[in-house]
């Protein structure tokens, strides 16, 4: 109601001004910048970890470092064991589905199951290389990947979460060696998480920089003001955890359990849910100042903040993957190596390992109603290949008060499915064994092994089904001057052309009324012009 009152006040002012009037008349390339990591946050810790004898080292492995950490931070691993960063498992609050990286099949690399050793280079643990990982191990929690401030710690891509402990070639056959990190130095320089720490995994999802999310990539390590008004060191210099806050290592703000509309207002300790992961946690539901157009605040009930304030994604100079067609994978060159084709911009558009790709930069999002819930197409859900499969069908609609219109990156592609079992396939892509797809390029073997890993028996007949997966866009928040303008939606064929259930001025109209109205106006004009012409003719004839 405050909005309404403000508007009334403004209008009253306008009314009073006419009164007065009447009376008066009497009538980029940020990955390289490692050294000033400390500038991201002032050193506020009361502990200098380099003075601790426990961290003197030398350390042979990651778990050895963790054991040292746990001597003081006795509860840390237990806390992390409860988080989805560790379990990769989330229960869908709306329907009980088992979600999380461990359970879903996406339309990028597919599934974690049967490919653990590669995928878990982004797990906050050590040694998850197969289905037998011990989730109760405290020593296997990787403290350093999140708390390294030196920039020198990196997990080995195929090391099941471990860094390289000896110089190791990566990618295989490239001749380039990954050096082992100086674990003691890293351990002595731990600190709060930074954009780089989180970005180590979240900016590189889907197999490389910028591939997966579209609004998260390496450009956000040192973003300019134009790219992200909150994270830019030129402005607020937020780290990820400035918003993704939470106690006891439980980081808030997740796609799996999204608050699509946070009506609890600006978060004040003790009064609200205490999370800062929504825009409204800091900005509230009436974020625009009274000096701005009062209609702006009237949009917050139906329009998510990011819909206007993230005008495009992949704005940091990196392309994001928009299309991935696994069905064309498997082409090898004369040496039996997977073929790689790059386009004029140097982007890989074909990989013998993965198939065809399409990329996008400065992409206008797609807009959909969203109430924070999603229904996933999981392994075992019926997929018959006749229609495009929504991997995550987001809930919500125009009549649902919890829904707003949100921006999404919609990833599309074709991926394997089991025709006999009528389900998306679990594919064993990575591994040194004979059945891994990237060894032999034999889909049947790869599906057989993949499906076996989830306890199913491959029917023997596979195909490719077109899928889409929607990713809510929330990052890369532009300065207000770059926000989406009114007419980009309030126009015919605008951004919200496909949104149903709302009447939008400028977009919608009653066609026949417009036709009738303009026809009548035109006829009236012709009539008076005709009448006038006749008068003129009669007049000149007489004189």
């Amino acid at each position: 109601m405050r909005t309404c009152n403000t508007a009334i006040l403004r209008h009253l002012t306008a009314f009073l001004s006419v009164l007065a009037l009447a009376l008066a008349l009497g009538a980029g390339g940020a990955w390289a910048a490692t050294s000033d990591e400390g500038s991201e946050a002032p050193k506020v810790s009361t502990a200098d970890h380099s003075k601790f004898k426990e961290l003197k080292g030398p350390f042979g492995t990651g778990p050895e470092v963790t054991r040292a950490c746990l001597q003081c931070h006795t509860e840390a691993s237990k806390q992390l064991h409860k988080t989805k960063h560790w379990t990769w498992s989330v229960v869908n609050p709306t329907n009980g589905e088992q979600l999380g990286k461990r359970n879903i099949i996406n339309n990028f690399c597919g599934s974690v199951v049967s490919n653990e050793a590669r995928c878990t280079s982004c797990h906050i643990g050590y040694g998850w290389k197969d289905g037998k990982f011990d989730f109760n191990s405290e020593a296997n929690v990787d403290c350093l990947v999140c708390h390294d401030t030196t920039g020198g710690y990196r997990k080995f891509p195929a090391g099941a979460g471990h860094p390289a402990y000896v110089p190791t070639e990566w990618p295989v056959g490239s001749g380039r060696m990954m050096q082992p990190p100086d674990l003691a130095k890293v351990a002595q320089n731990v600190g709060p998480t930074s954009r780089r720490n989180c970005g180590t995994c979240h900016f590189l999802g889907g197999g490389g920089n910028a591939i997966k999310h579209g609004d998260l990539d390496l450009s956000l390590i040192e973003p300019g003001r134009y790219l992200d008004i909150h994270m830019s060191p030129e402005r607020l210099n937020f780290t990820c955890s400035s918003c993704h806050s939470g106690d006891a290592h439980a980081v808030q703000g997740s796609r799996y359990t999204t608050i699509a509309k946070d009506t609890s207002g600006i978060d004040i300790p003790g009064r609200t849910d205490g999370t800062r992961a929504t825009c409204e946690s800091c900005h509230g539901m009436e974020p625009h100042p009274a000096s701005s157009n009062s209609k702006l605040n009237e949009h917050t009930d139906k329009i998510a903040c990011a819909t206007c304030h993230v005008p495009r994604f992949a704005r940091g100079g990196y392309n994001t993957k928009m299309w991935w067609d696994w069905s064309t994978a498997g082409r090898l060159d004369e040496n039996g190596q997977p073929l790689k084709i790059r386009n004029g911009k140097g982007l890989e558009v074909y990989s013998g390992m993965k198939g065809d790709f399409a990329w996008g930069e400065h992409v206008i999002p797609e807009y959909r109603w969203f109430n924070g819930t999603a229904d996933y197409t999981l392994f075992g859900d019926t997929v018959d290949g006749s229609e495009i499969v929504s991997i995550n069908k987001y809930g919500g609609g125009p009549d649902d008060p919890d829904s707003r219109i949100w921006p999404f990156k919609v990833m599309r592609g074709k991926q394997p499915y089991d025709k006999g079992l009528q389900t998306l396939a679990v594919v064993h892509t990575f591994g040194k064994d004979d059945s891994a797809y990237w060894r032999n390029y034999d889909w049947d073997k790869a599906l057989q092994a993949g499906m076996a890993a989830v306890g199913a028996t491959y029917s023997g007949e596979m195909g490719f089904v077109e899928t889409e997966m929607a990713w809510p866009i929330t990052h890369m928040v532009a300065p207000k001057d770059d926000a989406v303008t009114c007419e980009e939606c309030h126009s015919r064929n605008g951004r919200l052309e496909g949104i149903e259930g709302v009447y939008m001025p400028g977009r919608d109209r009653t066609g026949w009324l417009d036709f009738l109205g303009w026809a009548a106006a035109l006829l009236a004009l012709l009539a008076v012009l005709g009448h006038g012409a006749a008068r003129y003719y009669a007049h000149t004839k007489r004189s």
């Binding site: 009314f15 006419v18 007419e487 919608d508 109209r509 109205g517 009448h531």
Partner: protein, 198 residues
Amino acid sequence: MEATRIYIFKRFERFWHWAQAALIIVMGVTGFEIHGTYSLLGYESAQEVHTTAAWLLIGLWVFAIFWHFTTGEWRQYIPTVDKLMAMLRYYLTGIFSDAPHPFRPTTLTKHNPLQRLAYLFVKLIINPAIWISGLLYLYYSAWPALGLDGLSLAAVAFVHTVAAFLMLLFFVVHVYFATTGHTPTSHIKAMITGYEEV
């Protein structure tokens, strides 16, 4: 016939007329832009100008209504059939043969019977329709608080558009009929100076 000048439109009336004319033109131009008919100022500017002009016009109407009732001028719009047919005949035939104008305005009867009907229609049908639908449109977000949940914005927008087209029709015809006085400019001069030659 010797021209005589009579004082018909008082100062407030003339101010009201021209201010209203300007505001209606501004509202028509910006309104049809908001409607998506063309792009001129840009949607946001069009919306802001339209809303500001709306409040100015409402303010003006409040004054005008007050003026009409306190001065008794509202009686000028009471419909009459006296000379109605004569007026129609004049516009259809007489005007082409320099026939004398069947209506002579006086201070007490400023408007010919057709004008009375037209202005009454504007005041009782078009204005309220455009005003009420426009305010509802403007306060769309307050509907739930006002207990108006059942309303449909599409319906309100429809009524507003119908009223806008009626106003456009009135505008076209009115501007032309301004030239049909004793001489082509006598009505217009009267609205500027207050004096009409009859």
